[in-house]
């Protein structure tokens, strides 16, 4: 997993609420047995017409936003299925940070496993960042994970919360499995007790 430390990038506004994982990556792309290559299909049904031509009105097709690495979105982003193909597709497109008033739990969790930082903020702050993002290529935001701040184009900073363990993993690009396997003794002893107390499990 790539580290996430500091990101200075264009932010694209996607104010629609309830953007679900089927919208982020439609089911036909779930047939892959790889993690990579999904970026070209991200937001497929919003982004292309039936013949595969780009729809010029879709935000990420506009010249100013084609290189966006940050999304500022409507409420309840990433609802629906557990498919990790959604963050894989965003990452492959180049998105490293999503800002919203709320996220669906599973999607939120999946982001951290892939080096994407989801930031949850109150409505007024998301509104402010949404209006920043609407300023085209001038819509650059700076995300500093160590300091837990977002710097707006006008220089103002907004602080955000992040779980300390997840922050640590993102900053260092750490693999969860390796960390957990260091606790093998505890897992083995839990299993020993489980076999004694709830043998039917």
């Amino acid at each position: 997993m790539d580290k996430f430390t500091k990101l200075d990038a264009v932010a694209a506004p996607m104010p629609l609420v309830n953007i679900d994982t089927d919208m982020i990556i439609p089911k036909q792309f779930l047939k892959t047995i790889k993690r990579s290559g999904l970026g070209v299909s991200a937001f497929m049904e919003l982004r292309y017409d039936t013949d595969g031509n780009e729809l010029p009105d879709f935000i990420l097709n506009k010249p100013a936003y084609r290189a966006a690495s940050i999304l500022v979105t409507g409420d309840n982003f990433g609802c629906g299925s557990s498919r990790e193909h959604a963050p894989w597709a965003l990452l492959d497109f180049g998105i490293r940070c999503v800002i919203s008033t709320s996220f669906a739990d599973i999607f939120f969790n999946n982001c951290f496993k892939n080096g994407i930082l989801p930031i949850e903020l109150p409505q007024d702050q998301v509104d402010a960042l949404m209006s920043d993002a609407e300023n085209g290529a001038n819509a650059r935001l700076t995300i500093d994970l160590e300091a837990q701040t977002i710097t707006r184009p006008n220089g103002e900073t907004i602080a955000f919360d992040v779980d300390p363990f997840r922050k640590h993993c993102l900053l260092n690009g750490l693999d969860d499995i390796g960390l957990t396997l260091q606790k093998s003794d505890k897992i083995n002893s839990f299993e020993f007790t489980l076999a004694a107390e709830r043998s039917w499990v």
């Binding site: 679900d20 439609p26 047939k31 599973i106 496993k113 505890k186 897992i187």
Partner: protein, 467 residues
């Protein structure tokens, strides 16, 4: 005196392997269900790192999302990508020592139907799967939720998950529901009330007389859609209905061990005075047969209702509704009873169990679908299919003009050949009405099996109580 605990608290506490100072826990996973779509990258990760599956005996695999539902699949799966995924699952299961119900096995089916059917899902367990409808298993009073592929790999490698505890939410449905009102109507009404984000950050415990009165299969329908309400998991406290359902299933404990298990399971209830961070109450009497009109599961209305106007809503939701009505091809103010449909789909992990098929067959018995309607029934597992054939239900469906299919996720998610065409309107017993979910530009109305069967007879959305 010990602190009063919720059902969720109790199951959580019984599975904590380790807790860090900041509250991050390592949670033990009792049962891991694996399917072909969200697992290939996880097995590949293990292979690359040279890691084994930590507890293969706690893991079970079956293909469901991708499999075609016609009998030709027993010879070959035509779609190459689907075939590769289904074959990869079989190969990975064999390589890592995981039990696999393959496409030729009668026990194959939708993972969330197979687990309970086999007695692999038991009260008080932690159950995970790389699928958001894992919430289904909460019907047994087991803590069950969907995970992403990285977490699938984590569970395969360590039999644990890194988790922070969610908050407690109670959804109580009081009183009795009227005849013709099913578990599906209850859960759609709950989501209509709480919204799709209402349960975000919570584990929901469903309780109250109307919930307690449900069969195990009805309870599974309710918990299945906890995720559509935003909650990763839904729970119902186990009781005699649960124990009776579990008893005698192939993998359930037997004899003295079953009695010991029941003794523990009986401790799994929310203590008097336990704290819930959020409480929602619905009156069972107020719930009508319910359908969705939009592209979010929260877009519900009683079948006697009308399509709303975008201006009935505020903020971003007003825009979302305008978009949804355009997508669905519906005019505000239209009576839902006047909406004509093209297709009926009965099946899925929400409503693909034997009782669902019985309820639909009850409506269809001795009748025929309206001309021009495409209608299919897809049993949730090979065993459900066999049972329905034995009970004479298959014959009723076939006589009514329905296609009688093999087990799988089918048209619930359009990853296999069963899909809607652009503009095709479907009365569906599945769980999501998202844009494109059942096929590109397909239009989905969610409802109960009886309501879907009724729609097949009339060719439009229909109030089952009028038949």
């Amino acid at each position: 005196m010990t602190q009063a605990k919720t059902l969720y608290d109790k199951i959580w506490d019984a599975h904590v392997v380790d807790e860090a100072e900041d509250g991050t826990c390592l949670l033990y996973i009792d049962r891991h269900l694996v399917h072909e779509v969200t697992s290939p990258q996880a097995f590949e990760g293990l292979r690359t790192a040279g890691r084994p599956v930590h507890a293969p005996e706690r893991t079970i695999a079956t293909p469901d999302h991708n499999v075609p539902t016609d009998e030709a699949r027993l010879k070959v799966i035509e779609n190459e990508e689907s075939r590769i995924q289904v074959e990869a699952l079989a190969k990975n299961a064999a390589e890592f020592g995981v039990e696999h119900f393959g496409i030729q096995d009668q026990r194959q089916g939708i993972v969330h139907i197979v687990g309970p059917e086999q007695g692999l899902t038991l009260p008080g367990m932690t159950v995970v799967c790389g699928d958001s409808h894992t919430a289904t298993h909460g019907a047994f009073g087991s803590l069950a939720h969907g995970i992403g592929t990285s977490e699938v790999e984590h569970v395969l490698a360590t039999q644990t998950l890194i988790q922070k505890k969610s908050k407690n939410m109670k959804v109580e449905v009081t009183g009795k529901v009227a005849p013709g009102v099913t578990a599906k109507d209850i859960v759609l009404s709950i989501i209509g009330e709480t919204g799709t984000g209402g349960g975000t950050g919570y584990v929901i415990e469903y309780c109250g007389e109307a919930i307690k009165a449900l069969s195990m299969e009805g309870r599974m329908t309710v918990c299945n859609m906890a995720i559509e309400g935003g909650a990763r998991a839904g729970l119902i406290a186990p009781d005699e209905t649960t124990f009776d359902y579990v008893k005698g299933r192939p993998r359930a404990p037997k004899g003295e061990e079953f009695d010991r298990a029941v003794a523990w399971w009986k401790t799994l209830f929310t203590d008097q005075g336990a704290y819930f961070d959020k409480v929602v109450t619905l009156q069972g009497e107020d719930i009508a047969p319910t359908v969705t009109w939009g592209t979010s599961p929260e877009d519900t209305a009683p079948i006697t209702g009308r399509v709303p106007k975008p201006s009935d809503f505020e903020g971003g939701k007003a825009d979302a509704v305008a978009r949804a009505l355009d997508y669905m091809g519906l005019e505000p103010g239209t009576a839902l009873l006047d909406v004509e449909i093209d297709t009926v789909f009965i099946g899925s992990c929400t409503n693909g169990r034997i009782e669902d098929l019985r309820a639909a067959a009850e409506i269809l018995k001795g009748k025929t679908k309206k001309d021009g309607i495409r209608a299919m029934v897809v049993p949730g597992s090979g065993l459900v299919r066999a049972q329905a054939e034995e009970e004479g239900l298959a014959e009723i469906f076939i006589d009514a003009g329905f296609e009688w299919r093999m087990a799988g996720c089918s048209m619930c998610l359009g990853m296999n050949p069963d899909q809607l065409s652009p503009g095709e309107r479907c009365a569906s017993t599945s769980n999501r009405n998202f844009e494109g979910r059942q096929g590109y530009k397909g239009r989905t109305h969610l409802m109960s099996p009886a309501m879907a069967a009724a729609a097949a007879l009339t060719g439009r959305l229909t109030d089952v109580r009028d038949l």
